[in-house]
Symmetry: C2
Subunit: 361 residues, 2 copies
């Protein structure tokens, strides 16, 4: 009766993000047995595989740590579920194992780096590290990097900056996946933006793409025959819709805030490209694969921030009467921290099939 | 038959923003005779009034120029229509005419200023000027300012940076006017954000608030008995609605991108407050008046930007097939420039009643 034909990333995303319950169709609900894997065990496997692919000790440590941390934080789509795709790109030569990011130009305190098509997470970590170091010396530091690759979860580098006591702001361009405002065809990337602020009780980390829903998320809802919780795009007749299938067909995914997010995405791409001479969403899209992207990293550093006033802002937000009494107001990053704590104690929930695939790699 | 009881800012906003046609109800459409006033004449009147209020030559020149420029660019709500409110605030002492912004602290290259409750446009111009100067020397410059006042149109300072050849990024906090995600009561400001990139053929300037529609805009639609073009908030039952009256009643205006814009607005306020120790949206709201706000100005400077690649991005966006054939894809700032050119040639459209009020001030 159950036809388990849903394989690959969509299946796995779905599996992890909905409390271990996979709904294949309205009629068929399966509870799947997940296993728990510790962060250390997961990272060790990733590292073993990367070392076998000729990653250096440093690079494998960095990349394995990020894939495991993303999983620990509940971002499975850019953690364990994405790892096989990363390995595939490495094997196809789209990601160059031996590449090192290099400083190529400096305008005052802005450093321009070239990622030389190396692993995106490694390059992004190095770029943010450099922005942190510049900020620690000058109060502010800015690093741009071109010819780099997908950084997986943008939030990673926000947490990195905040862990170092810095405000961190970073963004990347992507392949085109949203129409411009007034247009019907994809011309804009969803260009994720991250803003992180250090905080003793748990950093505040905003990690948002410029699309209301990613295509991965639309496909999850599609798979479950569920409507989106809010409008996510237009159908082919130009009506705003919550039906994910109609949006996947029309390719008219909605930017956050309609014309506003479309403009925002556009401006981030112009900023990245204009500052670096790196590849724009147009050029990435023309290339056919989401490689050779361009990124921006900014840090601000102060020995102290107005911690009490920040707590006041959080308390104020949380003091609002609630739409649903069991759903509190959360600050950006709060949920991530809760998931991190839970997965640290209970282990990271893993589909046994995926895990055995990893073990065999 | 026509009951012209709609006075004040709402009436005037409506008047200017809809091609000189004021729709009071579905049954009543009036074409109003507007007069045209040149930029120079408008600025001269504003300056005369500000000088009479003990503004210095420099301050009156700056503030009058900004109110006139905002009108020239078609942002009447923060131009001529707002001028009488500004004068009222000055007379009430909420805006201190004699205040000068001052550098109070420096962390590396980040300068912290205190606006001393001076005119917001004057302070913001000075802050952006300083960020420009720092960027011209160091490639990057950052200025924060606390205890300042409403900057009127945020885009003003983006155009200023781009005119100086800099990328400019700035944002401000505001009084609370949106609920946090999951909440029902206003706890977040709409915290406008500006990103500007210099371009020979016309700067790219994004100027976006974090709410989908301002209350002013909701009231315009309400006045015309029109539905919003896209959902703008929730009704009291928690349903997403395009009915402006239901949103004005519920006070549940929508952040751009739902939970995303709510998080973004929150993070901007934390950033402003955490970096400066200045007033947060909570504190501004507690004070009851939108005064003493906190702002952030960042500039990046390079002798050259990748101009050809920027044109490629614009061309790519414009190459999309259109939703409506007579509505082209526009880049952020394109419309402003078109309005500026038209109003420069034809004069700035002005309601004769407002203008005669200005002349009598």
């Amino acid at each position: 009766m159950v036809q388990n034909t849903f394989t690959g990333i969509i299946y796995r995303l779905d599996l992890y993000e909905f409390n271990k319950i996979l709904i294949l169709s309205p009629a068929v609900i399966i509870k799947l047995k997940l296993m728990e894997v510790s962060y250390d065990a997961m990272k060790a496997e990733f590292k073993r595989i990367l070392l076998s692919l000729s990653f250096t000790e440093e690079k494998s440590e960095s990349c394995a740590g990020i894939f495991a941390s993303n999983s620990l934080d509940g971002v499975y789509s850019h953690g364990i579920n994405r790892f096989p795709v990363f390995v595939k790109y490495v094997k196809e030569g789209l990601i160059r194992v031996d590449a090192e990011p290099m400083l190529i130009e400096q305008t005052g305190l802005i450093e321009k780096w070239d990622g030389h098509s190396g692993p995106g997470m490694y390059n992004a970590t190095k770029a943010m590290d450099r922005a942190i170091a510049l900020a620690k010396t000058n109060g502010i530091g800015c690093v741009t990097i071109k010819n780099t690759n997908h950084w997986m979860r943008g939030g990673t580098y926000g947490w990195q900056a905040a862990d170092a006591g810095c405000v961190g702001i970073c963004f990347t361009n992507t392949i085109a996946n949203m129409p411009p405002w007034g247009g019907k065809e994809p011309r804009l990337g969803n260009n994720p933006l991250v803003i992180a602020i250090p905080r003793d009780k748990g950093h505040i980390v905003l990690d948002m793409a410029m699309s209301q829903f990613s295509y991965g998320k639309l496909q999850e809802y599609q798979l479950k025959n569920k409507q989106l919780p809010v409008p996510g795009g237009y159908d082919e007749q130009g009506n705003l819709t919550q039906d994910p299938s109609l949006i996947v067909t029309s390719r008219r995914a909605l930017p956050v805030g309609f014309w506003k997010g479309a403009g925002f995405s556009f401006v981030l791409d112009v900023l990245l490209t204009g500052l670096t001479g790196g590849r724009s969403t147009f050029q990435i899209t023309s290339g056919g694969e989401e490689t050779g992207v361009t990124q921006f990293f900014l840090c601000l550093y102060q020995p102290a921030y107005a911690d009490e006033l920040i707590e006041e802002i959080i308390d104020y937000a949380k003091s609002s009467s609630l739409v649903e009494n069991d759903k509190p107001v959360l600050y950006p990053g709060e949920n991530t921290l809760a998931t991190r704590k839970r997965n640290s104690i209970e282990g990271i929930p893993v589909d046994p099939d995926i895990w055995s695939g990893i073990l065999k790699m």
